[in-house]
Symmetry: C2
Subunit: 389 residues, 2 copies
Amino acid sequence: MAHTEFPTKATHAQTRAHNASLVLRAVYDLGPISRAEIARLTGLTRTSVGELVGELEHDGLAREVGRGPSTGGKQPTLISLIDDARHVVTLDLGERTFTAALLDLRGEVRERISRDLDGTDGDAALALVYDLVDELLARPHEPILGIGVGAPGIVDGQGTIRWAVNLSWTDLPLGSLLHARYGYPTIVANDSRAAALATFLFDGDDRPANLVAIKVGRGIGAGLVLDGELFRGDGDGAGEIGHIVVEPDGAECHCGRFGCLETIASAPAILRAAAAAGLPEQTLPGLAAAAADGDETALAVSRAAGRALGTAVANLIGILDVRDIVLHGSVTVLGEPWFDAIRDEATRRSLGPLARETRIVDGGTGEDLTLLGACALLLTRELGLTVHR
Amino acid sequence: MAHTEFPTKATHAQTRAHNASLVLRAVYDLGPISRAEIARLTGLTRTSVGELVGELEHDGLAREVGRGPSTGGKQPTLISLIDDARHVVTLDLGERTFTAALLDLRGEVRERISRDLDGTDGDAALALVYDLVDELLARPHEPILGIGVGAPGIVDGQGTIRWAVNLSWTDLPLGSLLHARYGYPTIVANDSRAAALATFLFDGDDRPANLVAIKVGRGIGAGLVLDGELFRGDGDGAGEIGHIVVEPDGAECHCGRFGCLETIASAPAILRAAAAAGLPEQTLPGLAAAAADGDETALAVSRAAGRALGTAVANLIGILDVRDIVLHGSVTVLGEPWFDAIRDEATRRSLGPLARETRIVDGGTGEDLTLLGACALLLTRELGLTVHR
């Protein structure tokens, strides 16, 4: 028998929390805004709006910022969010350099520190996370709203990292550990997924319903925004395209298989291929410069990595028919030769009508995207806000 | 600036239509059911429920079917849906044999006719559609609620077939044509997507949130049910995996490219491979029988097709992390050797934790799935019902 769901009445407390959230959203999204306008938009009474705005002022989240144009009577007082009223601790654990930052309620970075992993993983990598947060919290900051983390690998809904291949983390309850140590609300999400959310949120008003953002750096992962929502999959592993095997007879991967996409198209794999081809460049910017100078070997290495990724993009197009694909991460510094190879291969391997409509966009190195996405997830869960500037 | 949406009041007509739909759903989902129980579930007054049930009886959609147990007072009269009160014309255009059928409100097939395409396509294939519907409507039937069509290829939200490779249809406004000719509400959807919806709806109460159903027959296409909804993609092409290129140097495809999945793993491709290998069998059941008798060549042909499909399944797992994958269509008669090859290849090419949780299930030849899915789409749009038995 199918489920037939019928609406139920809300309790008084639920109603009040809902109304408070409506007022905060109105101030966040539309401020500076008058109490009368908030009442008109939300359908709440002037009295209720006055009380709820009073609470926001009391909590230091909003303040009066002058008067707006009169609509007949006296000029209304305008209420504005205090962007810097709260700080969110954010972490990006997706690269060889871990980054921690304090972001405000608009996702602006207020403090940032980074530390290189220096080849460590496991417990040492976890200790580095603690060091970074300790150091960040030792700096001057506003009241902390919570901690938002973007971590590589498969991260479940409780903030446990089921498997992060490159960090040798298995079933690490990172969310619980951070909550226990610091006492703040904590959210842990897959880094590529957090970055995809940030890309989606800052795409402006004409944002597409669907967007895939692929992070190509130390690892390769995609975040899928489908019909406006982050898609997680059944086991929180949606978008883990870095470990799809593309060359069954290829190189061994950290995950234990052979020929995963990451063994060909990730930053370390590209640098290994460059070294194997006898190139002296040991960084991606160096490789990009050599290719720009016309070094055929450097060009060939860039293109080979691009083609492998293009095959994965063709699969994304064929399976999802998503038109907006953003590539970001350290490998994007390889520039046009790499992007052209991706676009060529994706087009060559896709059904014509689908491929013609696809936009494959350079999202840049995107250092802040994961931080911003982690912040956005926390603001949505804690305050019901959809982050924007 | 982000969109801030606030609820608005419904008009009286909207409210009445909504209430009528609630009552019909209650009778459809939970009948036989008393008026009192409907009132309790929907929150409507006894008077409103009485009026709305009266309308259903007047329209011949429901009737009184006796009395239920007393809950104190007199025994309540029970109302039940008349399953056969309306018929839906459904069409499956996805195989070499077109099928048309009359289905009742529970998706039971009441009449069915099939006709072979005999190699025709384009206008001749369209004429065959008209012939089938004409013939079906000449048979005794209940009032027709509408026409639901499952068609191969890329079908847009207006029922226009943008491109159906195997039928040589391009921008064919099939929905409008059928509506103009027969005057009934008409819905046209991709056949694999319709079949996926039907698979999902009949998976019972413990159905998963996500499900991929892959039709493997004359063509290959997947329907994606993500978070409980059919996912269409930006250009209505989601799930068109049959034209992802898997062997760039492979055989030419009807779509104009080379080495699409359909050139290796579809029914015609498998029979071509069997012939090329010198096998006398000219049908899939024949090939399956030869393999079951231990014919190594027949086994090899089945396994090669399975491995190609397994690669596509690995991509589905890696991108979507969907645990429930159902294969249906004429090729499923190849049985265990084919399924084993799919499972092996999908596992070999997927990240361990994801692959271990995946269930790849035999959905059978699934002749009725597309018909049932097309019927379900029409019932939802016209009556607000979620079809079930």
